[in-house]
Amino acid sequence: MRNDMPGGDPKEIWKNQSNEVPAMTLKLIQWKARELRMKTRKKLLGSVAGPVVVAFFWAYSTKLKGITPLAQALFAFIFVWSLLGTYILVKGLRSGPMPGDAALSTGLEFCRREIERQQVLARRILLWSFLPSLLGIAGFVLALALIGAKVIPRGVPFLVLVGAWVVAYFVIRSREDHQLQTEMDQLRQIEAENRPGPA
């Protein structure tokens, strides 16, 4: 690279930048480990959102007069589904390869695997968290309708909100899915181009 550039040699500019972070000592590493454990706990807490939503609507519906055993059974089924989903999501979160464990893979392999993991995670969230939550709400609305409550027009604002949530979820998800798939296709192509040929 030329050194006669107006702002100087890019390599020199890059390498001469000032340090912002204090040197990491082993004591700081231990502190970081504790912080990471706390973050993981918070993440685990967030993953129980599905069962909480289902439990809320189930508990609410049990107070309704005339709720049928069939509706109760439906709620029980959805609750078990969402609990199982939480277990699967947590297991997935825990089993994900930490970047440090993947030091033997190249950047190309790691990028591809990381995107694959994101795709799997998005599908799991849909199947094990979003769908049970949605069914829980649907079950609640159905239970209300069965006991003769006037869901329409009194429940319309709530139904509109739920509808908007569902539409937004699928729009965002399909956009993310498309981006991840495009990225994945490109990485696979690069991988094919960079595969070592026969000796």
Binding site: R2, K11, I13, P99
Partner: protein, 185 residues
């Protein structure tokens, strides 16, 4: 002899390896974080994450690759995960090839090194993760073989990308200088 190493010995060697890597590559790893994160607070976190994961990774270090390659790989992996986790849209990121054909948005020349560093960092942050790995390694003066080992690209492809990087950097840091000179006149 054989059998598993006692935990205390393993821990000592893990700590020692980390301290050696931090001493040798600490500054490079901090610069690497700048290539992936523009926000200073988040960058600080990312740098700490990189060091933490590096320390963790040395529990499994088996000398199959050099300490340098290992450290850079771990650092890039942590940073790529960070980019994906932050849900930055991939569509806004471009490859080196696409970047070359984009209009120059460097915002004019400067003799201010700080500004030039910010521009260089902004350029790198617009690239896709794999190309970022190549450009950061190039700026850190790693040779094509080492870059190839870190990224998984063939040395020929690395050479091609480095050629393109040189062209882009020359365009950004030279042409803009002429523009600035014209404006100054």
């Amino acid at each position: 002899m054989g059998g598993p190493e006692p935990i205390s010995t393993r821990r000592t060697s893990q700590d020692a390896l980390f301290q050696e890597a931090a001493e040798l590559f600490g500054a490079s790893l901090e610069r690497l974080a700048r290539a992936y994160e523009a926000d200073p607070e988040k960058r600080r976190d990312l740098t700490q994450d990189i060091h933490f994961q590096l320390w963790r990774s040395f529990e499994r270090y088996d000398s199959r690759c050099s300490l340098k390659t290992w450290s850079y790989r771990v650092a890039h992996h942590v940073a790529v995960s960070h980019v994906i986790r932050e849900r930055r849209t991939f569509l806004k990121l471009v490859s080196l090839e696409e970047f070359d054909s984009l209009p120059d948005q460097s915002g004019g020349p400067s003799s201010d090194r700080r500004l030039n560093l910010d521009r260089l960092a902004a350029l790198i942050q617009r690239l896709k993760p794999l190309d970022r790995q190549v450009i950061v390694s190039y700026l850190e003066e790693l040779d094509a073989a080492a870059i190839s080992e870190i990224t998984g690209l063939t040395p020929a492809n690395v050479a091609m990308k480095v050629h393109r990087i040189k062209k882009i950097l020359a365009k950004w840091f030279h042409e803009s200088g002429h523009k600035g000179a014209d404006h100054a006149q």
